[in-house]
Symmetry: C2
Subunit: 267 residues, 2 copies
């Protein structure tokens, strides 16, 4: 599996129709799960190193249509790593204090500190997705936000935070099945909101808004990956693989100490 | 194993000498690890329920002498649970903004939101431990802090956050061995600080300061547990068991929905 097959090259247009929602490659589920277990172990080692190094951070952005599996990706990929160095931030409808500031204000407050992995469940991209689709802000304001987002992510990158962004890609039919499951399973009823239905009816508008995002905001420093998300094991595998590759590219090191360990006597 | 054996009853004096630092009971390591795996699964289910319920929270406070295993407890007990509902806050030397406020100011900002598990790696107790031992604040100020802590924890409890506090109890010799290991293992060198040695020399003062804390600040709503911490599997087991018992006592429920799932048709 090559992660670059799923990456949007900078400035390229990205038609979602041309990306698979379901992995149909040669890897079997059994092989995939074995590989994921290996990657998870590697991820644990690299996270330890990131934490010890203390000079850099990773920010993972997760976006998707409703019920595509953001929560479950977080649980499965980030569950096994040390919670001391991993913080998840979920961005819901902004509150009045947040709305009283620019759209990146609440985002900036939640970026990971050095040494940490930060995970955004939804993100600043909502401000060019739902806000665009439902016209919650004037068009000319929204239009400028793509540049503001790129500048912000470049700032993070240049100051030591690597940004990777994942779109969990599913089909309209798959979403229907997932929502139906929430209705059919009593312990999942609370995850369903009647508001999900009008959102679902805007499917095509959202897909278009996402395509816009991928075209304008996939940069070499902060790339977007389109993850075929209908098979969970493959979705988790691809996300974990990108994370491992990113961490491995960061030249992390255990800090050098300014004493000679052999010379210290503990009383 | 009865968790109540390790709990400090409200107002009782607690001599640390009379508490074991190493579990020497009947349970074998193999049995303990099996039980821990079962508790971890149960914890995952209960965390899901806590998150779904959304009305209550848990705050876990971890305190210990240096190198007693706070980080490793967090990794092992809280690693397997969903990071979306679990935040760890580490309290280091307060910065100038923090020092410009009362000692509970930075603590309050980090308490878990409803639905979450919050873990404090060190806590407001430092302000009656290191601050007391090294006389970093006037005595009469420190003396009043025990009441302020109890009042603060009662506030949290009454507003829905259950507080459980663990002291990871080790012997002086065990600390020596742990610190030596940091010196002997190159990838662990960075965890050692020459400053650890003068702190170690104040061992007896710290033990006394802890005894004071247990006597004054173990309440039915926010009890202290003295965890024999020299055998890691038992330490993790006891912490997990207390967490499960606490969550089970909280009457958590999946939220009721205000629609009839059978009547909804997904377009």
């Amino acid at each position: 599996m090559k992660t670059s097959d799923y990456k949007i090259d900078s400035g390229k247009s990205a038609k979602l129709d041309s990306f698979p929602t379901r992995y149909e490659g040669k890897l079997t589920k059994e092989e995939g799960l074995k590989k994921l277990a290996e990657l998870t172990e590697r991820l644990q080692v690299l996270q330890d190193l990131l934490y010890a190094d203390g000079r850099k951070a990773i920010l993972v952005v997760l976006q998707a249509m409703d019920a595509a599996g953001k929560d479950s990706t977080i649980k499965k990929v980030f569950g096994p790593i040390n919670p001391q160095g991993c913080k998840v931030a979920s961005f819901k409808t902004p509150n009045s204090t947040e709305l009283a500031h620019d759209f990146l204000w609440r985002i900036h407050q939640n970026v990971p500190r050095r040494g940490h992995i930060g995970v955004f469940n939804r993100s600043h991209y909502e401000d060019v997705l739902i806000v665009r689709v439902k016209e919650l802000a004037p068009k000319d304001i929204v239009k400028k936000r793509y540049d503001h987002i790129n500048n912000f992510e470049a700032l993070l990158h240049d100051e030591g935070t690597h940004v990777v962004k994942f779109f969990l890609h599913i089909s309209r039919d798959h979403q229907k099945a997932q929502l139906q499951e929430r209705l059919d399973t009593p312990e999942k009823n609370w995850k369903f909101s009647p508001q999900d239905i009008p959102e679902r009816l805007r499917w095509d508008d959202y897909q278009k808004a996402f395509e816009h995002v991928f075209e304008k905001c996939s940069t070499p420093e902060a790339p977007w990956y389109i993850v075929p998300a209908e098979r969970k094991w493959f979705r988790n595998l691809l996300v974990a693989q990108v994370l491992v590759e990113t961490l491995e590219s960061m030249n992390l090191e255990y800090p050098k100490v300014d004493f000679d360990p052999r010379e210290i006597k503990i009383p």
